[in-house]
């Protein structure tokens, strides 16, 4: 892709990625031609409603999709090499070493039968061939790094002895153990309460700068995006509908879906007098996916041309948009203005 982030600066480039789930009757296209890139040292936010394919995109990146799911097309270039062409053994060397992942549910993402130390040190044993003692020492250092008090004691504890926030810190310690170049954080704060959320995000940001990592942050929380991301990719029904830098997304959103998402946020600087605007309708089920623009049935501006699928177009600033309104073929109201109602609060 030809964004301002040109390809040798990108740590990860996902092109036309397609991941489907196969049932006896049908193929469910969870990820249907997703394209985005993560520049080195930057944070890209992947946002969208539940079921839009965010998590499947991220799991596909590490090739952790399980039956009946399957990556059916596209390419995932990590440091210029296509991960989809690698063997399972080569992938294992990348997982947890060059690309790490943290998950949504810290309560269930740690193995209940092993101590925190055993779980973190496993990464060192696999990727750096460290002995047991050294691995535990490094694990203690990591626990210290992610701000866990008295790590020498914690390292011998089991996950159930830690709080949710602590467990997420352990997950982060485990993910960052081998200094990965890319961290995929799949809704890392969704299951945590608000004060802990802020701490965890702060921690990720801080470590990112210290370790010079790139981050793919998956979330449905636009507040989190505004706080932490450099770029934002908006996903809808398995496709990227808009990709832009964070300022553009919040000050000048283009896609009607992005606008809808921003409008449905409660404004924090004034009282809500009227009902909050909503995006009418709901996400279509895979069985009744529209032929054309996936968002057309819910879009207030939808026109005749929207019955065909728009392509992802890049503008002069390198931002990307998948919407007919911005093309020559637009056949609706030529004066149509797509803008968010309360953009001022995010600037």
């Amino acid at each position: 892709m030809s964004t301002k982030t040109n390809s040798n600066e990108n740590i990860l480039e996902v092109n036309e990625l397609k991941t489907s789930f196969f049932t006896d009757e049908m193929e469910v296209k969870a990820v249907d031609g997703v394209t985005f890139a993560i520049p080195k040292g930057k944070t890209v936010g992947l946002v969208g409603e539940s079921g839009s394919g965010k998590s499947i995109s991220s799991l596909s990146t590490l090739r952790l999709i399980e039956r009946p799911g399957k990556i059916v097309g596209g390419e995932i270039k990590f440091k210029g090499e296509n991960l989809l062409e690698k063997s399972e053994a080569q992938m294992r060397k990348i997982r947890g070493n060059e690309i790490s992942m943290i998950f949504q549910e810290p309560m269930t993402s740690l193995n209940p039968t092993y101590t925190v130390g055993q779980q973190i040190s496993e990464a060192y044993k696999i990727h750096e061939n460290l002995g047991k003692k050294q691995a535990i020492e490094r694990s203690i250092e990591m626990l210290k790094l992610v701000g866990i008090p008295s790590p020498e004691k914690r390292v011998n504890q089991y996950p159930h002895e830690l709080s949710g926030g602590m467990r997420q810190r352990v997950m982060i310690a485990m993910a960052l153990a081998c200094n990965p170049e890319l961290l995929i954080a799949d809704e890392p704060t969704t299951a945590l309460d608000v004060t802990i959320q802020a701490q965890i995000l702060e921690l990720i940001k801080d470590l990112q700068e210290r370790l010079n990592m790139s981050v793919l942050l998956i979330t449905h929380d636009l507040g989190v995006v505004a706080e932490t991301c450099d770029y934002v990719a908006v996903m809808y029904c398995g496709k990227i509908v808009e990709f832009a830098d964070v300022n553009t997304i919040f000050s000048n959103p283009k896609h009607p879906y992005t606008v809808g998402l921003l409008d449905s946020l409660p404004p924090h600087d004034r009282d809500i007098k009227d009902d909050l605007p909503v995006i009418r309708g709901s996400v279509p089920s895979p069985a009744e996916m529209p032929e054309g623009c996936r968002f057309a049935p819910r879009c207030p501006f939808a026109s005749e041309v929207c019955k065909t699928l728009p392509t992802l177009e890049t503008d002069e600033n390198g931002n990307q948009i998948r919407c007919w309104i911005y093309s020559d073929k637009w056949d609706g109201d030529p004066e149509v203005k797509v803008h968010a109602k309360n953009t001022e609060r995010t600037s």
Partner: protein, 318 residues
Amino acid sequence: MFKFIVRRVLQTIPVLIGVSILVFSLMHLVPGNPAQIMAGESAPKEQVENIEERLGLNDPLPVQYWNYISNAVQGDLGSSIRSGRDVTTEISGRFWVTVELAVYSTILSVFMGLIAGIVSATKQYTFTDVIIMIIALFGLSMPNFWLGLMLIQWFAIGTDLPSWVPFFDDTAWFKPSGWGSFEQIVLPVITLGTAGAAIVARMTRSSMLEVVGQDYIRTARAKGVKERVVIYRHALKNALIPVVTVVGLQFGTLLGGTVLTETVFAINGMGKLIIDSIQARDFPIVQGTILVVALLFVLVNLLVDITYRFLNKRIDLD
């Protein structure tokens, strides 16, 4: 861990007292006067009363219980009505036979069951999985006395196939009865272990499938852990928790349930001893054997709990 074990051992004491009371009451709940049986149907009344006096049957029940239990803890369970020998001697001759039979069968069922269950789970819905589960279903539904008879027919008496059939023309590899040598042990152990293996296999399969879908398995994979290590280190340890319960219960059942197998293979174990003694109304032996089996059962449960605790650190006695 040490504290846990001590507490758990202490908790078995009330259970043992309860068991001993039940076993003791058995003798007084069933119809028939033991003294009369010992003396014979037509014995004179004085002789019966004499025996009653000697056995202390005229004492109040709590006194009798106290005498019984204080003798029992010293290893004296009374003497057999039939043979007059010490119950302890009678049982000890049979005890190890049954324990060996139960232990070997359990080892067989755990070994076979775990392998079958893990293979089945990792190859879910494949041909292998279906075949293993069908075999397990057969193993589960076969009555073990019938299986025992079939095994004797095939592998002790031998098949009657023509001599040009390679390998299987003479299959009288094992002995059909007795206990002690390898040739005698194989068939009863298979007979008794098959159902257990089937249960363990099905349990392991479903437990593995549940665990493999957990978030922490995905975490392990995302860490770069080899699939083999994911299955055997991360999944199996968690999946074993329900399996251990089943194996523990199974083992307890085996201890008291070896009677059919012992009868089919003419093994002189505790199962046969209980049945023979019940038929002969030899109460001291029945009491003694049940007490020993109950004690073993409690012991096995203790082991299960300790294994549990080792597997799952979250388990607390409270």
